[in-house]
């Protein structure tokens, strides 16, 4: 598991990428990736094209990110989700809270 984050040059968007398994072991790194950026950019993308697995604690972490970036007014997209991950997100109906690509 490796979490990396990049803020765009204009500071308006933040991309967090997760490589490997996205589970509780990513907790500190994932939180660090957005808490160190201040102010938090309006647009956030979570790049999961390198993510192999997602569990329910990862769903919880995504909710924390959503809360941190304004809750209902947040703008978060989940990108590059493979079929298994998309399935987990769909079961939980997370498309109501995030843009899933």
């Amino acid at each position: 598991m490796a979490v990396t984050s990049v803020t765009s040059a204009d500071g308006k968007s933040l991309t967090i990428s997760i490589e490997g398994r996205f589970d509780f072991s990513a907790h500190q790194a994932f939180r660090g990736a957005y808490e160190k950026v201040s102010p938090i950019p309006a647009e956030i993308a979570v790049d999961m094209s390198g993510t192999t697995y997602l569990d329910s604690s990862a769903l919880g972490m995504l909710l924390l990110l959503r809360d941190h970036s304004g809750g209902d007014s947040s703008n978060i997209s989940l990108k590059g989700c493979n079929e298994d991950i998309r399935k987990i997100l769909t079961i939980s109906n997370f498309e109501q809270l995030f843009k899933i690509h």
Binding site: D55, S56, S57, L59, G60, M61, L63, L64, D67, D72, T90, I91, S92, N93, F94, Q96, L97
Partner: protein
Amino acid sequence: MKILIADDNNTDRLILSRVLENFGHQVFQAIDGTDAISKFEQHAPALVLLDVLMPGYDGYEVAEIIKKESSRAWFPIIFLTSLTEASDLAKCIDAGGDDFVSKPINKIIIKAKIDAFERIINLYHTVAEQREKIQFHNEHLIQEQEAAKRVFNNIAHRGCLEANNINYHLSPMSIFNGDLMLAAELPMGGMRLMLADFTGHGLPAAIGALPASEIFYGMTTKGFSITDMMIEMNTRLYSVLPRGVFCCVIVIDIDSLDEMLTIWNAGAPDSYIISQKTQTVELIHSSHLPLGIQSPEKFEVKCQSFPFTKQHKIIAVTDGIIEAEDSDLKMFGEKRMLSCIEKNLKSENICEALMAEVDVFCGTTEQSDDLSLLEVSFPEFVTQDVLKSTENKSAVSGTSDAVISLNLRGKSLGNFDPIPLFLQTLLSCNELLPHRARIFTVLSELYNNALDHGVLGLDSAMKNDSDGFANYYQKRAQGLTELDVGFVNVSVDHHPTATGGKLVFDLTDSGNGFDVERIVKEGSKNYSGRGLPLLLNLCDSIEYLDGGKRVQATYLWDHNDIPE
């Protein structure tokens, strides 16, 4: 530090002893191998210096014996040797030694080695101490969890999960994995079941189980619908749980009177409704965010209904089963799940078959304790003998002489379920408690008839086949959301009699009424499914007035005649 020196050469031994004593160590001397073993036991030195060549036991043998037989914490052995062959030196380490020093012994080198080993010994003691502390804390934690488990199990008890129409698998420590399985009988016959999976592990995962089960048992006995109960549960969990912790849930009502199953799946894996008659499996997908995420204003419950008879079964699981892994980290998965169910369609105990399959799949991989599986068949219709034995026999109390009435209009008909309100108010009269199930049944049958056939004008003949059944409930749900005219007036008159009381239910609706005479003559077969015969059975009299727009039902109860 206590040091044991074993050397059969007196001069060498005495010189080395003196040297080490000068460095501040406490030295014990052994004159040969046998003496070394007994002095070791006697003085428990922290470090042992062994001459390799000694009469009796040689150094290698002594090292092996004291390392093997000593139950003491780790201690280093340094060999003293005049041998210089590499293989001889290697043998020192093989025999259990930790280092060697060449003879004749150099004062500075032996001091340096002893100092280095002293540091390692200290480190070892620190680690051992810490390990003991951790072990103590760990034992303490396990004890606390055991105590907490007992408390949790009392509150989040399993209700009627042991009923013979239920098979399930649930680990005893599952609550600390966030899995919760609850079952309660519905007041009007049938059962409500809930399978919940909180995110996380340990106490944080278990905390949410307390409000959830309290709400489950509290609201189910009072006759609240799944919708009302889940709204309450979400509101509570939303305020109690920290952001990021949530609860996936499947809740199921089996109405054994109407032979109907109502289900709501929020964030859990598919549930499976099995028809043994048609040998088919229907999948019920999750249709909502899990509980505790959506604010109460945005939260919405849309249940699905299906016919459910003795030929049916429902299976619900949490993601622990789907995600059970084999040694290659491959998951059990939904495909395997479905094919296993299809293979065992006719089995009495599909739960057992599934668990066996998961066992085989996982092989030697250790299974986690969040494998929860619930299999429910049709519950026999039994009117509950609630509180019969513990019932309070005090004088006629509460609303024993009262009229309770409520007029619902327009949107309120779709938004509000008046049955729990009536039931709770009526049951403030303790003597009615044993009659609760009957009163609930009578009241909800009458009210649903007024709403479905009166206000909404639905024809129950629709329910005769399974397509029509789904259609009926879809039309009903749609009708209720669109409703903005119409009314149902409900009034219940309770007054005491010499030996008990008399309840008169009086309901009027805004519908067009119906041909009362014809319906009653036709043996009431075609009217409101199984409703009318049941009402006639439970009530002392039923009378339709105003061309079917109004109904009056009388229920007499007696202190000396408690329902079975």
